[in-house]
């Protein structure tokens, strides 16, 4: 792990709360680390665990899932489904050997630009400390070498 490691983090956010919160951070000219790439979805309920795995497979070092606060979901219950799904998915993560710390789940409302800024800086720091996520790449190498004989 080199000194200048900059993690890549993919964020899956809902358009009504967290995406709007991120916009608010922008209109308020708050500053935060540039490591996060946002994928906008209608609701956290739309976020499939497969998206998270795909992002990690593609080379993301961390994943963020963020939506409306419990009780405030624009779609009434989507974020509850997301939360339940996350609880189940956690066990699967452990099974696959992906450290849970690579994935962060949070609630950011449309009014919480400052909280969004803190969250991004926080998660960037944490993932930076964890170092690059290389398990998938290693696995890829193993598969390739195995298929040669």
């Amino acid at each position: 792990m080199s000194e200048s490691f900059e993690p890549k983090i993919v964020a899956f956010v809902c358009t009504y709360c967290t995406y709007a919160g991120a916009d608010l951070a922008g209109t308020s000219r708050m500053k935060y680390a540039s490591n996060v790439r946002i994928v906008r979805l209608p609701c956290t309920g739309r976020i499939s665990p497969m998206f998270i795995l795909k992002a990690l497979q593609k080379g993301a070092d961390g994943v963020l899932v963020s939506g409306c606060h419990p009780g405030d979901c624009h779609f009434a219950q989507g974020n509850y489904h997301a939360r339940r799904r996350w609880t189940v998915f956690r066990a699967l993560l452990a099974f696959t050997g992906i450290p849970e710390e690579r994935i962060k789940f949070s609630w950011i409302s449309a009014a919480e630009g400052a909280k969004f800024t803190e969250l991004i800086n926080g998660i960037t720091g944490q993932i930076r400390a964890l170092g690059p996520f290389e398990q998938y790449q290693e696995l890829q190498t193993v598969i390739e070498t195995q298929s040669t004989y």
């Binding site: 991120a22 000219r29 994928v39 309920g45 009434a76």
Partner: protein, 656 residues
């Protein structure tokens, strides 16, 4: 073969100063599938949009990515431009390189790199976009106004005047709200009842308005243009249809000493009552809690005294279901519980009262017939101290906001007091005098100059009783010294706070609220009367503290929004909805459980002879709101969400 056009906006300097746009254009121009890539100072401007349209026409583009601001800002603008150039409007994506890139980063290289990745991923997404058509849904052109205060009445009258039906729901036995409790109103000092009661009567008599008093909204289902509202019509135990409002029953009722809410506890009412003499409708209700018959099974004096047999002890609450196309929320406010200011002695000393108490004391229809008398001994107070911001602008009590009306009503109280008690002396403790409004500053000047209201700049630390007098101890911060005023009565300029059940109610009907419980507008500046839930509008003090002119103005604005919605028979909705692939659906009904809107039905698939061979899920496009929870739930990948399909999102992730 995809032909994507990418248009990178400078947004003046907003983007160009932090993102190297030329580098972005160059990088994205080489991305497979990108036919055109260009940059411009303002793509949202007329010539900017023309450039986009021209590029679509000349190159036969199949998709467009505009790298600019948030889609929340200009998605509609560019969708329209695409449509005008003959491209399906849903073949557009906005890459947000302003709010989420140039404005929040400080390193130009990093920001440029991020902008390239954001734009590239959306190019990959847009390649997989599909032509979509907006969904048309019918609009029920009837509105519901919840709350019968001055804001609700105004909204109902305006909608009704335009020829649309309105259902006005009020939970108290009479419409009128807080305004009916006020004595005179600032800055004109015209009597509140005199200007309000004619409007109340107008509302109840209007052929387009159905007034439901003593009724509460239990549940709201549906969506813009098509709401189904369940209203609980609470049992009045008096037949609305026949009662003439003669008041015989009230006179005969033996249960007398129930503190009246309308009089803020300064007067009493009976167990069968109308809240005030000018109540609309003028039909009493029986208060089950205090009624002798309901308590002991004996009495029924009201029934005997009623000459037209309008008392009905067997009435039950009933639920009425009403179809409406739009909802205006005008549920108003309540006066803050000043008991949290222990140091002011509210609740301990009878002569420490709230602003609303003072209104009742000054009101000609109030318990003292408009005479200012001390609640403790009924004597005329010689000195009255008014304490402003008693509950507003006090972060330590969790009340950070300015309640907006208190400066004005305190000045009004001081004037009314001077007019009624000529030798009386008023002292007002204030933090600032906020008199912004038409005729407001002139009004407060008048209170000081003509009616000799004494303003002392500073806070009160303590109110205590000594020898039958109230001692008000505070500071005069202009003179920089402590002061003590001996008063006969203390009036607290209590704050306006949301109704105690405001948050529960918001959850029930599906709108947002702020940290205090005031309802959130869709945009503070540009969409002040809409909520984030399409088809639900706001007016009056349920949104924030407001005076009467503001509430009325906002009510008319909300009515205008409703009428705009009702101007068409059909409504176009975003086609972001789910759909099922019948061939793979296994009928596990996971999606049915997941859907928060009950939008998924079971559909029979039949063979040629009409035999059911399979049952699959089927999405009702009218009910589907497009959250996509069902998609994630589906075990066989048989449901997908238009605009956010699995293919689109995976492509987006892969390109990051």
């Amino acid at each position: 073969m995809a032909k994507i056009g990418v248009f990178v906006c400078h947004c003046g300097e907003n983007i160009a100063s932090m993102v190297d746009t030329s580098k972005l254009v160059h990088a994205i121009g080489e991305h497979p599938g990108v036919t055109v890539a260009s940059e411009y100072k303002y793509f949202c401007s007329d010539p900017g949009q023309e450039t986009v349209k021209k590029a679509i026409r000349e190159n036969g583009l199949t998709g467009v990515v505009v790298a600019a601001c948030s889609p929340r800002m200009h998605e509609q603008t560019f969708r329209k431009a695409c449509a005008e150039a003959g491209l399906n409007p849903y073949m557009l994506e906005l890459a947000n390189i302003r709010e989420q890139c140039s404005w929040v980063h400080t390193d130009k290289d990093e920001a440029t790199g991020k902008a390239i990745e954001i734009t590239r991923s959306l190019v990959e997404k847009v390649k997989r976009n599909n032509d979509l058509k907006p969904i048309s849904v019918p609009v029920t052109r009837r509105a519901m106004v919840i709350g019968g205060g001055v804001a609700g009445i105004q909204a109902a009258l305006d909608i009704a005047a335009a020829g649309r039906e309105v259902v006005l729901v009020e939970r108290e036995p009479s419409i009128g709200g807080h305004m009916a409790q006020l004595s005179e109103t600032f800055p004109t000092l015209d009597c509140s009842q005199c200007i309000l009661t004619p409007r109340m009567v107008e509302a109840v008599q209007h052929p387009n308005i159905t007034v439901m008093t003593y009724s509460e909204v239990e549940e709201v289902d549906g969506y813009i243009g098509n709401f189904t509202v369940k209203v609980r019509r609470k049992a009045r135990y008096v037949r609305m249809e026949t009662c003439t409002g003669c008041g015989d029953c009230i006179q005969k009722c033996p249960v007398k000493k129930i503190p009246s809410n309308f009089e803020c506890g300064l007067g009493n009412r009976k167990a069968i009552y109308t809240p005030f003499a000018q109540a609309v409708p003028n039909v009493p209700v029986i208060d089950r809690e205090h009624c002798l018959y309901f308590k002991t099974g004996k009495c029924k004096i009201c029934e005997k005294s009623c000459q037209i047999d309008s008392i009905d002890f067997d009435q039950q609450d009933r639920i009425e279901t009403i179809e409406v196309g739009a909802i205006v929320v005008a549920t108003g406010f309540q006066v803050q519980d000043t008991a949290m200011y222990g140091e002011y002695g509210y609740g301990r000393y009878k002569d420490v009262v709230t602003g609303l108490h003072f209104e009742r004391l000054a009101s000609a229809s109030g318990p003292t017939s408009g005479k200012i008398l001390r609640p403790s001994d009924g004597k005329e107070p010689e000195t009255v101290v008014f304490i402003q911001c008693a509950g507003s602008r006090d972060a330590s009590k969790g009340m950070k906001y300015c309640s907006k009306i208190c400066c004005m009503y305190t000045a009004k109280h001081a004037m009314l007091y001077a007019h009624k008690v000529h030798h009386g002396k008023s002292q007002i403790f204030y933090m600032d005098i906020r008199a912004a409004g038409k005729g407001y500053d002139e009004f407060t000047r008048r209170a000081i100059e003509e009616d000799e209201a004494g303003y002392i700049r500073g806070r009160v630390s303590k109110v205590f009783e000594e020898n039958g007098k109230l001692i008000v101890r505070g500071a005069d911060t202009l003179l920089g010294r402590p002061v003590e005023v001996v008063a006969d009565m203390v009036v607290l300029a209590t704050a306006m706070v949301p109704q105690s059940d405001a948050k529960d109610f918001a959850k029930r009907i599906g709108i947002g609220y702020d940290e205090y419980g005031f309802y959130n507008e869709a945009h503070l500046k540009l969409r002040p009367v809409e909520t984030a839930t399409a088809g639900i509008y706001l007016c009056g003090a349920c949104q924030s503290p407001k005076d009467i002119p503001d509430s009325v103005a906002q009510a008319s604005a909300a009515a205008a929004k409703v009428l705009g919605l009702f101007s068409k028979e059909q409504l176009e909705r975003e086609p972001v909805i789910a759909s099922v692939t019948d061939a793979t659906c296994a009928g596990c009904w996971g999606c049915v459980i997941a859907c928060p809107y009950n939008a998924i039905d079971r559909k029979d698939i039949t063979d040629r002879n009409g035999n059911v061979v399979k049952r699959v899920a089927s999405v009702n496009p009218g009910l589907c709101q497009g959250c996509g929870t069902c998609v994630t739930f589906c075990r066989s990948n048989s449901i997908d969400l238009a605009g956010f399909t699995e293919k689109q999102i995976f492509a987006e992730v892969m390109a990051l």
